[in-house]
């Protein structure tokens, strides 16, 4: 087998790129694709050809004037579809098919920007260069750097950006101990939520005896509200493979598995293409980079079980069994997949590994806080102006993330209310909520843990003042109750009972005892469960109880939902001044709770009302109000 000469390949790619007058990068992330990025790509192709200009789509192998590439998610999902024109790096937002002609005419042919498609700042000033836009300018894109810049399905583009240089160096020039030490020195910690030092994990696996060891990439990103791993696998799959090769060298593994959620079909496709291309280039398979090392990677698609994100459950799933967690120890480093020593790392961790090696441990460790080094990606969603994927150094504050990068909180009426959020849920169903008092707290593993939350996988869901916190707690409880694997009784039954108690509160059946019982049960589930799912399942309840106890009490004692979200606590009334006595509401009411007569305003019997809302829907005069 021929082995790829990375330097020569890179030089060849550079020359190839120089011949193009411009490179058009269209964001091919799920968000932009759903908004028509595919059509835009076809339109560019059509318009350029119509004007007699030559164009290459993907694979930069032919001579032509322009080059169109489809990248992975660029993160600025709210502004999609996104089109970036290189070399000037001008970013066009919310591009439509009809805009393509103008972009070709003005920007590609005449070299002028199309002002109306540029991003406008708060003062309405257009910003052309993407790196000057606050959303990007204030980030520190490290693991995500190439995501959204390169064509994920073209190995040449990755190599053209120094791809696989770190893996080659690790395989040919470093000992396993040196690789482990470099990663340990960088301070890199597990990005999947655990926060365990990656280098330490590798050392523990390295010292195990035996010729067969495994490397697993955990791509079972199940937290609702988190999608950074999906973007990495879709946008830069080679970085994940490269991280796995380096991990394999560090622990002495010969086989690797990537476990991907079945809900991510695009990630599966792109990883398959990447693996195939890497095999052809002699980067995976036997004697990689011409060394004596053999390493190959398989893909395993999950089948829809959140608990499989837990490492022992994930391994059971690869072995063809029900994904139920096992007690630890033995840890996977000692006895893992098929009983062999196994190292399991999350996607983002592995994608960061080549960056660390290229950058040097010292330089990487200079970013972040004392105990949480480097950068972290966050999925910023919910009631915020710029939803999307961001990456900042550890130690960034919520104010920086939500206001400066995210562009501020949006209330239910569509107004931008700056930093006036009610809560930010971090870490998904295992995490907790942050409130106004944490606005300027540096976010890192330790600080978050100290207030009962966690970094988790990095989902940040912003909630505005109109959100009912009891309902949010119920939402997460419903999720964990559904996903509990059923092995531990306290988790299986405890989450069910907690959900029932939350329903009591929301539906107006709760008493003071309900809250006590809820707290007692929460503590019991935490202590009595085997794996992370059960241990952290009560976190959303405990954390909302801690910061929003008065809101719970208002539901329980006054049967009132302060935000008016809880259907059963709503009180319907007819405004006598607006009522025209048409009687329509009385006819629509399924329980005959409305009575009245011609010429007199109608009335609702509150004890009979089931709060279905049929009267409000039917009234043509807006006379039915809710309090």
């Amino acid at each position: 087998m021929s082995h790829i000469d990375l330097q020569a390949h890179k030089e060849q790619f550079r020359q190839c790129m120089e011949q193009y007058k411009a490179r058009i990068v269209i964001c091919g992330g799920t968000g932009c694709m759903a908004n028509g990025a595919g059509e835009i790509m076809e339109e560019f192709n059509r318009v350029l050809k119509e004007k007699g200009l030559s164009v290459t789509v993907a694979m930069a192998k032919e001579e032509s004037d322009y080059y169109i590439a489809k990248s992975g998610c660029q993160g600025f999902c709210q502004m999609g579809p996104l089109v970036t024109i290189y070399p000037q790096e001008d970013l066009y937002v919310k591009v439509k098919k009809e805009d393509v002609e103008e972009i070709v005419e003005k920007t590609l042919i005449k070299g002028e920007a199309v002002e109306r498609l540029l991003y406008k700042d708060d003062a309405g000033q257009p910003i052309a260069n993407m790196h000057e836009i606050p959303f990007y300018k204030l980030q520190k894109r490290t693991a995500l750097k190439l995501c959204g810049m390169i064509d994920a399905e073209d190995i040449d583009e990755y190599i053209g950006q120094d791809g696989y240089i770190a893996a080659r160096k690790a395989v040919l020039e470093m000992t396993p101990e040196e690789v482990c030490k470099e990663i340990l020195d960088s301070g890199l910690r597990g990005r999947g939520g655990g926060g365990f030092p990656t280098g330490r994990k590798w050392e523990l696996t390295l010292v195990q005896p035996g010729p067969v060891k495994y490397v697993i990439c955990n791509g079972d990103e199940g937290d609702p509200g988190a999608f950074m791993d999906r973007c990495l696998m879709e946008g830069n799959p080679h970085s994940v493979l490269e991280g796995m090769i380096i991990a394999a060298k560090a622990v002495g593994a010969t086989d690797g598995y990537i476990y991907v959620r079945t809900e991510y079909p695009l990630a599966v496709d792109r990883l398959r293409i990447a693996i195939e291309d890497a095999r052809k280039a002699g980067i995976l398979g036997k004697n990689i980079f011409g060394s004596t090392m053999n390493f190959d990677i398989n893909i395993m698609e999950g089948a829809g079980a959140f608990v499989c994100g837990e490492e022992t459950a994930l391994m059971a799933s690869i072995e063809g069994r029900r994904g139920m967690p096992q007690p630890k120890p033995p840890f996977p480093a000692v006895k893992g997949l098929f009983g062999k020593p196994t190292v399991i790392n999350n996607v983002e961790t592995l994608a960061t590994v080549p960056v660390v090696l290229n950058m040097g441990a010292e330089k990487y460790a200079a970013m972040g806080t004392e105990k949480s080094r480097g950068t972290k990606t966050f999925a910023l969603t919910g009631n915020v102006a710029h939803t999307g994927l961001i990456e900042v150094p550890f130690g960034a504050t919520l104010r920086q993330i939500i206001v400066d990068i995210g562009g501020g909180v949006i209330d239910d009426f569509g107004n931008n209310v700056g930093a006036d959020f009610k809560a930010v849920q971090i870490g998904g169903p295992s995490g907790g909520c942050l409130t106004q008092e944490h606005l300027d707290m540096p976010l890192d593993y330790e600080n978050l843990q100290s207030i009962g939350a966690m970094v988790g996988s990095g989902g940040l869901v912003v909630m505005n003042q109109q959100t009912c916190m009891v309902q949010i707690a119920r939402f997460f409880m419903q999720f964990t109750q559904n996903e509990s694997c059923g092995k531990c009784v306290v988790c299986r039954e405890g989450t069910r009972q907690m959900l029932a108690l939350l329903d009591d509160i929301i539906e107006g059946r709760a008493t003071g005892e309900t809250l006590e019982l809820l707290e007692e049960l929460a503590k019991m589930v935490k202590v009595g469960s085997l794996c992370g799912l059960g241990k952290t399942a009560p976190n959303p309840v405990l954390s909302t109880l801690k910061y929003f106890r008065s809101e719970y009490e208002e539901h329980v004692f006054n049967k009132n939902c302060p935000t008016g979200n809880c259907q059963a606590l709503k009180k319907y009334a007819i405004n006598p001044e607006l009522c025209k006595s048409c009687g329509l509401c009385a006819r629509k009411c399924p329980v005959n709770a409305i009575s009245g007569a011609k010429g007199q305003p109608y009335e609702i019997d509150k004890s009979a009302c089931i709060k279905c809302g049929a009267c409000k829907e039917s009234c043509k005069f807006g006379a039915v109000s809710i309090s």
Binding site: C77, E221, A226, F227, E263, M300, A303, R322, A379, N482
Partner: protein, 162 residues
């Protein structure tokens, strides 16, 4: 009838051969079977159990553990309403309620009688930037409202009626 039965098992045999009848590959095998038959028929699962040398209870256990597997036939159009945190905060439950009403479905009845639609919720599609999101047969529709979702359904119904 015998010929139909024959071809039915031929397809599962091809799948089993693809994975060398390795019991460790049970999940990919079931995934391929579901893709081929749209669901996991009982007789096929019994057949797989014998072929892999494991008990049918074991297969039933795996098939019912993972949400992706279904033991009943599904509709031609599978509608997945995302109920991840971001979609939930942006009122995905209103979309679900509108769909249930429009299609006459509920939590206990997920597939329409004409086998045209199956309505499901998913935990998170990872399309949070587009919340609330609805997926119909793998095509993601973002920033949906109850009205725009029903419009989509009506488009499908019209196309099917032709």
């Amino acid at each position: 009838m015998a010929a139909v039965q024959q071809s039915k098992f031929d397809r599962v045999c091809a799948i089993l051969d693809k994975y060398d009848k390795n019991p460790n590959k049970l999940i990919p095998i079931l995934q391929d079977i579901q893709e081929e038959y749209t669901y996991l028929p009982e007789d096929i699962m019994t057949f797989v159990a014998t072929a892999l040398g494991i008990s049918s209870a074991n297969i039933y256990g795996v098939a019912t553990f993972y949400a992706h597997f279904t033991l009943e036939p599904k509709g031609k159009y599978i509608i997945k309403v995302c109920d991840g945190t971001a979609c939930h905060v942006k009122k995905s439950d209103g979309i679900l309620a509108a769909l249930e009403k429009e299609l006459g479905l509920s939590k206990s009845k997920k597939t329409s009688d004409d086998l045209l639609f199956t309505l499901e919720t998913v935990a998170c599609l990872g399309a949070c930037g587009l919340a609330p999101a609805v997926v119909i047969n793998d095509k993601v529709h973002g920033l949906m409202t109850p009205e725009s979702t029903i419009a989509l359904i009506n488009e499908i119904k019209e196309a099917e009626a032709k």
